[in-house]
Symmetry: C2
Subunit: 143 residues, 2 copies
């Protein structure tokens, strides 16, 4: 079902998103999204649209690069649709107190072929939460 060329192109889109985080370049990240993309993000609200200003402000809370490292990234393509899922380790240093933060998140990315390229039309990023009565976000899990 996969075609190699499509999978290569889609992995390049995700790599560009990762490089955009490294460079803290919200514009480059935003260019990978369709204008009407629906984003389910780590933070509320439940279902924002892609939010350039919000992303730029979030990137600016970190000192230096925001690093993304994928694991078990699976890309499924067929015709003009594709979806990807995997685990992504995010590592960065807070600007406020110089603390190194690191967590694993789950990511699902759905894309559509647009004008010969691929645009992200939906992204879902999350961590689970501990069902021990604490309702703590599980940012401490290892794959």
């Amino acid at each position: 079902m996969n075609t190699d060329a499509d999978e290569t192109a889609i992995r390049a889109v995700l790599k560009t998103v990762g490089q955009g985080h490294h460079d803290k370049d919200a514009t480059t990240i935003g260019e990978q999204f369709a204008p009407d993309a629906v984003v389910f993000d780590l933070a509320p609200p439940l279902a924002p649209r892609f939010d350039h200003q919000g992303l730029a402000a979030w990137l600016d809370t970190w000192d230096g690069p925001v690093a993304q490292e994928w694991r078990d990234l699976t890309v499924t393509t067929g015709g003009d649709l594709a979806f990807c899922h995997g685990l992504c380790k995010v590592t960065a240093t807070t600007k406020s107190d110089g603390q190194r933060a690191e967590w694993w998140q789950r990511a699902t990315v759905c894309l559509r072929r647009v004008d010969g390229g691929w645009k992200i039309v939906h992204e879902h990023t999350s961590v689970p939460f501990h069902m021990d009565g604490s309702f703590r976000a599980a940012i401490d899990l290892q794959p």
Copy 2:
């Protein structure tokens, strides 16, 4: 890009999953998934496979039906792939203390056409968490 027949069939799969929750029938729910489906669930671990026993045990923690109500469910189909995203309100009563629980979750469901039908190959369900330093799972949001 959508074909009406495919979208109808996919919405029927999601309705069957919802009915399976209502009836607390893990077998019927599991039949909607491909055997190697990767599930990113509300609870840890990060990325389990579809877990029939775990689902059955979870369903058994509730007294009476577990109700699902979708909002803003979008189904995108093309060829032999499809992806859906939307918000889903879950309502149920705990068996332990008879408390009514209700929360909105985000859901992304990716499907593949298999033998003329549709199977869920990936499901991602989550709530965001409050980035106010508390890291509390945001089970209190309204769409």
